[in-house]
Point group: D2
Chain length 145, copies 4
């Protein structure tokens, strides 16, 4: 399978740390960074003119996760403003990788880096290709596989 490195610029999404996201160490619980990554990729997709919930409802296309990793650099704390920088990494019409940098704004600090890999599924949960008109928006060459 050939893959294509994307030149997509980072999309930046802001959020504020919720009390519910902290744990008794006084910092954000580690699984919640994956929730923030999901917010980052949904907002990146929205910024490209796609609505993920429309892909699901109208096209029956589901972006199913096959892998995730996160490297934790510095803890996030309650009420901090967070920036999630999301980029499309390697991608073709069947697989999409997103990469993430998660930063606090005050102080300005890298908190975590990571990536998630996804495949497209149809309504019957079979792997499928992202149709060309959507692939173009994600800057993925749909002719590749």
């Amino acid at each position: 399978m050939k893959q294509q490195s994307s030149v997509t610029a980072a999309h930046v999404t802001h959020l504020r740390v919720r009390y519910a996201e902290t744990d008794q160490m006084g910092v954000v619980y580690y699984a919640n960074y994956l929730v923030w990554m999901e917010i980052g990729r949904v907002e990146l997709v929205r910024s490209l003119g796609l609505l993920y919930h429309q892909l699901e409802r109208e096209e029956g296309l589901y972006l199913s996760v096959i892998g995730a990793n996160c490297q934790y650099r510095s803890p996030a704390r309650y009420d901090q403003e967070i920036a999630v920088e999301t980029r499309v990494g390697k991608a073709n019409s069947r697989i999409v990788e997103f990469t993430y940098r998660i930063l606090s704004l005050n102080p300005d600090r890298l908190l975590a880096e990571g990536s998630t890999r996804h495949i497209w599924l149809d309504r019957e949960w079979r792997p499928t290709r992202l149709p060309a008109q959507y692939a173009a928006k994600l800057r993925v060459d749909a002719s590749e596989s």
Copy 2:
């Protein structure tokens, strides 16, 4: 609408507090008690010979929440063993109320009390009645409305 007080004995479910469930006060975050209530009512239903996931998949019956309340008496802490006592409260074929007492076992202490109210929905999200064979298991008189 007539309602019927249940004489169902309490069903007791045990669980252990997860790190993910704590917050930076060092105790369980308040919304998680509603998650424990859900576990309690599913296990109560299971103990009566019903599988809630079968009701959903095979009968297209959904137990939709219309109200919830919780009174917090004492905080739950990480790694404590918790008992969730669940009872069927007022119920007929259209509405079910569950009541809950949530206790820690070591020390033996009441942590919270609460209740949830639910209606049955069909696959089109219309209010419906619980069929008689299921109502009987929940000890609900299906002839009432």
Copy 3:
């Protein structure tokens, strides 16, 4: 204990439904409304010139929940924009009640209503009074008890 009805206007906070907040019924899981209530009251407090995390860190004041309830009117769905209207309800220097209306913006619909009650605790988890300078910001008459 005398209590005082607040004339505080509603503070409105906006958020967008996260995929993580949905469940397999295709709507927001019921416990997450309590997370949104927390966001609402923190932002209300912020709008009054108080930072809750500073109260915790610098003053050792903790807003501990003693009761919560929520009435569910209509389900929230993935990616909807949500408005959380929060008001200070009955309050004095020891107890604060917040009331909430949770609405979707598109369509414009009431999703849920509820309230939470809280007491102030000090670092040793003893009930305490909110100092007068903070009570004034919350429009609470600190002379009452």
Copy 4:
């Protein structure tokens, strides 16, 4: 830094999928596998005669995550019984890696595999070594660094 491959056998923990853990795709939301990993490693540690909450409270030792990854093989569904197999991977007195295999029991299927890496921190959040008496229980050679 030398590291040591552990010969620790897998510890197996069982849990049941909660409704709260599903999302609108009808399967478990991907971040929740990290919550299950946490349960797996806490129970592994307990099985070796250590209580993680005692390490935190009495020794001021915190197991801080520095990396996590998960490969998703097959989706977990509501109410399934899950087995979390946890092993100590590479470990010395400063760093511990845990590896995980997450399986459903009915049907018997591999759902996910992954690992987490951790360092020990003291009460001031400085990296520290696990004292020898605890390292021995984790089958880690505390003389190495």
